[in-house]
């Protein structure tokens, strides 16, 4: 069985937005944006720009026929700046011209006059200035105030985690063209076709049925095209609508990096209490989320931070507060893990600091506090089919941890420049959109008279292999060769009112909807088969491997013939079906409920080597036992895990986003923002946890997109562990990413000038 998409990819035949053959008369758009992070917008001067030969139009807020509003959760974000600018990169206008080059040149010539206001880039500063996106939220379990006296050790501290650029290889872009009747069709690189449709309709003042959005595939997204693909698609649509011409808008990489939001940086305070035996009794944490200048998805990200504040551990007394702070940066947004990684980093930091204080290895605390069956999370849900301990034990056994630790010790005793470190990283990640209403999907399945099958769903293919999974589902339900099944583009006229392809749940939700649609058609087919074979009822009929069986006996009726006959008998060979995840709910008044259909578990051990002379390091290996459920496509799932792990490692180590005090992004190119390359890749070994069948996932599988990213967090603590071998008495601040710069400045800080190295 071969993955169709991959065959096209390796031949260079797969098309992305910028590859589609363009119609005659195509125009190109370029965005003009604010170079000032905060101020009152006094004037926009387009005089010089409009004069340039080849410029066809320049559009600002004044040209919007509808409402200048693109906010999703909170209506607080404009398409084009009106009376103020709030971050560098905020769109002011678009220029449409005969060529990309002319459009870019003209966009640069647009000048804005701004009354500058103070710039805030730090979330704690924003909090002090009362600049919040939404009111803070708090989750409680047990009684935090009463628990501290039971603790032998109480450790307080803070932890910083940085932002992360998605760096989808295909930049943001869209292509829009007018269609008859005053509508517009948009080919967009978006995870949320419906969001693009809804916002375009709002901006253009059109009913949604006049806006068609079509998505072929995305060249990577990782959350960065969930909310943030919308603006560019809408701008292309606006220009196309105004000029009645096809318009393409592709952001150059640097502008993409400057204008779009990233993973939220967090600054957090923690207090953790443990008893003598290392059991965690209480955990109090406050998260300051750096949301950027508008809400975007920040409130939802914030919520998931709270859900994952205790990671894989049972802690009886918890108080977790999360505050979304408004700063003068581009609105930060969804990124694989969606607030979960930031939360897990803080609890792991607290455990690390506690272990340091107690003079033990962090893994002793981690191990003692892992979740058990029936344990309660701070949000009220209890664990079911909990695999926290099983995966941990299996890691110890499979990867022979005793041996690893011995060889690390030996290495460290024999080397004074190079030091090795290891860390364990257990994960527990909840599956479902935490906004319950978004857990819905639909599918449209056609069986054509030649027996081939077409499936449309709400799922957008962006490399996660959802198309291939959907094909599997259809081929399994009908029991036909997978070659018969084709997945279609994601299109708002075929599948309406879609949730974004996100939260790792697209295969679950759309797979289930596909299963239902196929079952509907199958039911009709069985009735038809029963009629043809003169069976008393369709319950005697089974289709297996394209052959119809009657009461277990093979008949001459095969798939193609059955379909043809069904068509002649005027049987419906199409079905649209709908799925909504059952049994989930959450009450935000009391912050309790059962928000997740299920959880994904796993444990990894990470080994690193640090060059303590130069401050550089190499991640040697990541060895994990991961709970995939009963995987329907192991090769796709393995690839998702490997890719996610690498993004987690990058986030913790070399991927550093730097804004200066004026809110200007210094790392605005691939030459300054470094993601893992092929040499960075460690030895990654992943074992599929055995006997894990998940009743809530499609064909008993589990969601895979996001959870493994969080194994990467272990690399931070493995590096800390190695640094400790070089400077045993040093106490390092917790601040991710731990770049080579931070390693060196930590190791040779003047504070330790008189402390001998090991």
């Amino acid at each position: 069985m071969k993955n169709y998409d991959l065959i096209r990819h390796v031949k260079g035949e797969s098309q992305f937005v910028d590859d589609i053959l363009v119609p005659e008369g195509l125009l190109y758009a370029s965005v003009s944006y604010s170079k000032i992070a905060h101020g009152e917008l006094i004037n926009i001067n387009i005089k010089d720009a409009i004069k340039i030969k080849g410029v066809r139009g320049i559009y600002t807020v004044r040209d919007i026929p509808g409402e200048n509003q693109i906010g999703g959760i909170v209506p607080d974000e404009v398409l084009f700046a009106t009376d103020r600018v709030e971050f560098i990169g905020q769109p002011i206008a678009i220029v449409v011209a005969d060529s990309q080059l002319i459009a870019m040149e003209a966009a640069r010539k647009i000048e804005i006059e701004v009354n500058e206001l103070p710039v805030i880039t730090d979330p704690r500063e924003a909090f002090k200035a009362d600049q919040l996106i939404v009111p803070p939220r708090t989750f409680n379990l047990g009684n935090i105030d009463e628990c501290w006296h039971q603790c032998e050790y109480i450790i307080e501290g803070s932890a910083e985690s940085g932002g992360q650029e998605h760096l989808y290889l295909e930049v943001q872009g869209a292509f829009a063209f007018p269609v008859e009747g005053g509508g517009v069709k948009i080919i967009s690189s978006t995870q949320s076709p419906t969001a693009v449709q809804r916002v375009t309709a709002r901006i253009l003042n059109l009913p949604m049925h006049k806006v068609e959005v079509d998505v072929l595939r995305l060249g990577g997204a990782f959350g960065g095209k969930e909310d943030q693909a919308t603006a560019w698609a809408v701008m292309a649509a606006l220009a196309s609508f105004k000029l009645n011409k096809p318009v393409k808008l592709i952001l150059p990489r640097q502008e993409d990096m400057i204008m779009t939001g990233k993973r939220h940086p967090y600054s957090s305070d923690f207090k953790i209490g443990l008893n003598k035996g290392g059991k965690i009794i209480g955990y109090e944490v406050t998260f300051y989320q750096n949301a950027g200048a508008a809400a975007d998805l920040s409130p939802a990200v914030l919520e998931r931070t709270l859900f994952h504040c205790t990671n894989s551990y049972y802690i009886p007394n918890v108080k977790a507060t999360a505050i979304s702070c408004k700063t003068n940066l581009p609105p930060n947004t969804a990124f694989r893990g969606f607030g979960g990684p930031q939360a897990m980093f803080v609890i792991e930091s607290a455990i690390y600091k506690a272990a340091e204080e107690m003079g033990i290895d962090p893994l002793e605390i981690q191990n003692k506090n892992l979740l058990d069956e029936g344990d309660e999370f701070p949000y009220g849900q209890k664990t079911e089919n909990c695999h926290a301990k099983i995966t941990w034990r299996r890691v110890e056994e499979k990867y022979n941890i005793t041996e690893i630790r011995n060889s690390v010790n030996e290495f460290n005793n024999n080397n004074n420049i190079y030091k090795k470190g290891i860390a364990f990283m257990p994960i527990c990640f909840g599956i479902s959109f935490t906004n319950t209403s978004m857990n819905q999907a639909s599918a449209l399945v056609h069986v054509y008279t030649d027996g081939s099958i077409s499936v449309s769903t709400a799922a957008v293919e962006m490399g996660q292999g959802v198309n291939e999974k959907i094909r599997q589902v259809a081929s399994k339900v009908f029991s036909v060769n997978i070659e018969r099944v084709k997945t279609e583009t994601t299109n708002t006229t075929r599948i309406a009112n879609t949730s974004p392809t996100a939260a790792s749940s697209s295969a679950d939700l759309n797979g289930k909807a596909t299963e239902r649609a196929c079952l509907n058609i199958l039911a009709h087919l069985k009735v038809t088969a029963a009629e043809i074979l003169n069976a008393s009822s369709s319950s005697h009929i089974v289709i297996k491997d394209e052959i119809v069986y009657q009461d277990g006996t093979k008949t001459n009726l095969v798939w193609n013939k059955l379909i043809k006959t069904a068509h002649l008998k005027r049987v419906n060979l199409s079905s649209h079906a709908f799925y909504a995840t059952p049994g989930i709910h959450f009450d935000r008044e009391i912050e309790k409920g059962k928000p997740f259909a299920y959880h994904v578990y796993g444990t990894a051990v990470i080994e690193v080597t640090v060059d303590c002379l130069r401050g550089i390091y190499k991640i040697d290996s990541v060895k994990a036992i991961h709970d995939f459920g009963k995987s329907i496509t192991p090769i796709i799932d393995l690839g998702q895990a490997e890719g996610a792990i690498m993004q987690g490692l990058g986030w913790m180590t070399i991927e550093e986003i730097i804004y200066d005090k004026k809110g200007e992004l210094l790392t605005d190119a691939l030459s300054t923002y470094k993601v893992p390359d092929i040499h960075f890749t460690p030895d990654v070994q992943i074992e599929f946890l055995k006997n894990s069948e998940n009743p809530f996932g499609i064909f008993k599988s589990k969601a895979i997109g996001e959870p493994p990213l969080m194994y990467g967090i272990g690399s931070y603590f493995a590096i800390m562990n190695a640094l400790k071998q070089f400077r045993p008495d040093a106490r390092f601040n917790i601040s991710a990413p731990i770049t080579p710069e931070k390693v060196l400045l930590n190791l040779y800080s003047k504070v330790y000038a008189n402390i001998p190295i090991q």
Binding site: V10, F222, G463, L638, G639, Q647, I654, S671
Partner: protein, 474 residues
């Protein structure tokens, strides 16, 4: 401006009249509608645009990978350009098949670039090993897979092809037979020769606004300006790319690429470790095009080749028409990106005395990401030692001043000194007085100062492991 070009793209002959400074990427995608070659960054840092260039190197055609986003279309004249479309055969090729089997592609945007790089490895080498195969993709970034599956696919391809290729006499035919490349490759030498015989119209005489060597700096910094101005390609301007020995001197043509340095026997003989150290320079496609002259003239304060050459105390040979002059590289830099270079003057070559038998050389570079990254700080050292004491010392440091810095005082201090921890720490302290680092995306000023000290120690610990250790120096 426009010039006529003729070349073979995949299996087709192409002729066009274009601005010679147009990027090959734009030409492929827009003029030829070959959209398998992708644009991911337009600055040589992602590899999605990788293509192969084939040209005669001796009797056979040799193929090498380049970033088409930085490659001037004028330079493909008379050559064979291979894009992913030109690799496709009826069935999947060995490389493509390995990628599919290992799931080494997810969103697919990076994939054509990887396929081209890896295919290029098998085309341009005759003995295969998995690690070299992996190295050939050091200029390709995949954000989806995390590279593990790509590594497996490369290993698998290398294994299959190593087994397949027994007859090395006609490499290309063997590769066609093994299913690595399509048939038409066998006809390319003949067709290229024919192409060469066709007369390419004389270039107009123009005073260019830009000279382009490899384009790896120019196209990153000013590709839009290049398109609006008159340009001249140094490849057609008589600047040599050879590396020769002459009268006790090594002479490197300014057009020599970093790959030329790596592959030079002369360089390997005198500086045996340089080959490994230069793998820290850019990526394979960048090394294949980036020139020594470009590195020197671009005058970036962290230019790796320049930092190495400063420690070798090289002489720069300049020429303008028939006027020639020379000066020490260390005297070439006047201030941030200002040079002792007159209008119209070109770097012809550089020369230096062979490293003496009692000499020691080292190069250190630290960047945020070890490979395909610009240094936060780099440094080079050249020492000649007689009877335990240093008789000649040349040290250089990058990323710590507005220019690539020759550490004059530090070098002078070390003259006549013995190699002891005390002398090394004192020299390190002196070097700190010569630098003026600034805070930028590559690190804070404090970090760069500290890092230079550490790299300084690293030179001595690497060169004299018996005399020095980290505990004494820290």
């Amino acid at each position: 401006m426009k010039t006529k070009i003729k070349f073979i793209c995949n299996s087709e002959n192409v002729s066009a009249e274009v601005h010679p400074g147009l990027s090959l990427l734009d030409f492929l995608r827009k003029n030829l509608a070959l959209t398998g070659t992708k644009e991911g960054c337009r600055e040589g840092d992602c590899g999605a645009c990788t293509v192969l260039i084939g040209e005669f190197g001796g009797k056979e055609i040799s193929y090498y990978s380049v970033n088409s986003c930085l490659f001037p279309i004028g330079d493909v004249n008379g050559k064979h350009v291979v894009t992913v479309e030109g690799i496709n055969t009826d069935e999947l090729t060995i490389v493509q098949e390995s990628f599919v089997e290992e799931g080494a592609s997810q969103c697919g945007f990076c994939t054509p670039g990887f396929i081209v790089s890896l295919t290029g490895y098998f085309l341009s080498n005759k003995i295969y090993n998995p690690n070299d195969a992996i190295d050939s993709m050091d200029g390709n970034i995949c954000r989806c897979t995390g590279h593990s599956s790509i590594i497996r696919a490369a290993q698998k391809s290398a294994e299959i092809l190593s087994g397949n290729i027994t007859n090395h006499i006609d490499h290309i035919s063997a590769l066609i037979k093994s299913g690595l490349i399509p048939d038409y490759f066998s006809e390319i030498p003949k067709r290229l020769k024919q192409l060469k015989q066709e007369k390419i119209s004389e270039e107009e005489k123009v005073v260019p606004n830009f000279y382009i060597a490899g384009g790896t700096d120019l196209f990153v910094q000013k590709w839009e300006d290049v398109l609006k101005n008159d340009v001249k390609l140094l490849s057609s301007n008589g600047i040599s790319s050879t590396i020769i020995e002459e009268n006790g001197k090594c002479i490197i043509g300014a057009a020599a690429t970093v790959s030329d340095l790596i592959n030079s026997d002369i360089i390997s003989k005198y500086l045996p470790h340089l080959k490994e150290q230069l793998k820290l320079f850019g990526s394979l496609p960048i090394r294949n095009t980036a020139t020594v002259g470009g590195n020197i003239v671009n005058a970036s304060p962290i230019a790796d080749i320049t930092i190495i050459l400063l420690a070798l105390n090289v002489v720069v040979h300049l020429k303008k028409e028939n006027n020639e002059r020379k000066l020490f590289l260390k005297d070439f830099y006047k201030g941030y990106k200002t040079l002792d270079l007159k209008e119209g003057e070109l770097v012809d070559c550089i020369s230096f005395d062979y490293p003496a038998g009692n000499s020691h050389f080292n190069f250190e570079k630290v960047s945020r990401r070890t490979y395909l990254d610009i240094a936060s700080v780099n440094s080079s050292i050249y020492l000649e030692i007689t009877d335990d004491s240093i008789i000649t010392a040349h040290l250089s440091a990058g990323g710590v001043a507005p220019i690539p810095l020759f550490l004059k005082k530090t070098s002078e201090f070390l003259n006549g000194k013995t190699i002891t921890a005390d002398n090394v720490t004192e020299a390190a302290a002196i070097s700190q007085t010569e630098i003026s680092p600034i805070t930028d995306a590559r690190g804070s000023a404090d970090y760069k100062s500290l890092l230079l000290r550490q790299l300084f120690y690293a030179h001595f610990i690497t060169l004299f492991p018996d005399k020095m250790n980290v505990k004494e120096l820290a």
